[in-house]
Amino acid sequence: MVVNSLAFLWFFLVVLVVYYLLAPKKVLQNFFLLVCSYWFYAQVDLKMTGLLALLTLIFWGIGHGIRIAIEQEKEQLASRLTTLSVVIGIGALFYFKYLNFFIGSFVAAADLIGLHLSWTASHIIVPIGLSFFTFKLMSYPLDIYHGKINHERNIFNFVNFIAFFPTILSGPIDRPKPFLKQLAQSRLFNPDNLMTGFRRVLWGMFMKMCIADRLDLYISAVWNNFEHHSAVSILFASLLYPFQMYADFSGYSEMAIGVSLMLGFKVAENFKRPFFTINIAQYWSRWHMSLTSWLTDYVFMPLNIKLRDWGTNGTIAAIMLNMTFIGMWHGADWTFFLFGIYHGLWYIPLMVSGQFFKKTKIQLNSYGLPTAPFAWRMAGNYLIVTFGLMLFHSTNINEFWAVLCRIPEAWNGGLFFDMPTLVNGAICSLALIYVDFQEEYFSKKKIYLPAWTERWRWELTVTVEILAILLFGIFDNNQFIYFQF
């Protein structure tokens, strides 16, 4: 069941009505939410529902054990249980997501040195949302061990946190503390939450269906047949790809956040206009924020603390490992590994020059927009991101290399111009760019609008968004790019 499908709309309408009929009885609301979340997950991935439940129970049990160990001042036991939870989490990810990749790579490496192994990859189906819910699971024992949260005695609340249907498939990756706190309160019918949430859902649908899916028509047409396209077309499609990714994943996140808000939950934000950044460190602090902040807290920080006596070299080592994790989190292929390394390498000049440790404030001109040097740096950063995403988009290293080789070979051809796709895509993209500019640089200034629009602003915006989706949207239930992770 895709979030922007009609099936989800009916499901959610029923959930919403029953959910608020049960208010203010939070126990009933929570129990109902739990049933809905598992029903939703079963619709998406019935076979793996048992695994989700089993892992949830194991992690709750370990959390319980850590609490008892801490209370009885058994430091070593608490530490061992925390390590066990990390091993189970990483083990589940490794088995389902990476085992075949490592077997394949090992066999290929052995082949190179003349050792012919007959190991074959097993048929393993990756549970949907595994990378997202495993990270949620792992943060729980780690937070208890570090004294950030207390063990949640009510197991149903913990199950609810992990399986929460708006975010289980593709995040945002929420943390136990804020979510469990919200579960402890009853969610009353709040028109403001409903209206704001609904607007965010519509905006997410607009980003996904009118921009991401539209641009995908062009990008896929060029990228999937790159042998027949000119260098200009390949470069143009590559330049569009970061924007498509942004519209796709940020669009999904808007929908997940909006649906959560309609149910009375504030979940983590995932994007903050990532292209208005002048270096890769700034970019990653605004792109897929719930993942990067998770990795900062649970991978980068512990590593950086452990290696703190090495000075800048320790920080570089921690960053390189952290970025490799980010790359590999996206999938089991050398392209993702190199994607992580590539981004990690861009941090080194920042660290050596000291820019990484000092926040550079973007200077604005009299119009309230970035000055030319900063605008150029933003453009340069977009190019750095684009090259990384070319690697990300390639199905394997050979394809990436073939695309790169095609570029100097095909300088003579013109631009492949798919008029309806590009015109429709450009109109909707301009709307997104306008909104992002508005929020980034002019949010404190009031835009002049006739007084009557103030009263009807919500209705007007919603109407315009619905009309735009109907006019420009692509209705083929296209999967979100991040569902595969």
Partner: protein, 79 residues
Amino acid sequence: MERDNILAKVQEVFRDELEVEDLVLTDETTADDVEEWDSLSHVQLVVALEKAFGIKFTSREILSWDNVGDLVDCIAGKI
């Protein structure tokens, strides 16, 4: 060393490391209250504090601090 003196010394280290001359720390101050205090500068602060007080923190101690008060308590327990 008195707890107030520890806080004063911690504040001095923070001012030097973060280059914010008028920074005032209280027990309740968190990283959210100080723009320059992020995951990176946090580790630099830890190293500077260890040097200033001649102590060594464990990873678990560092990761468990929620605010300046926790940090000061941790130092007080070591000197």
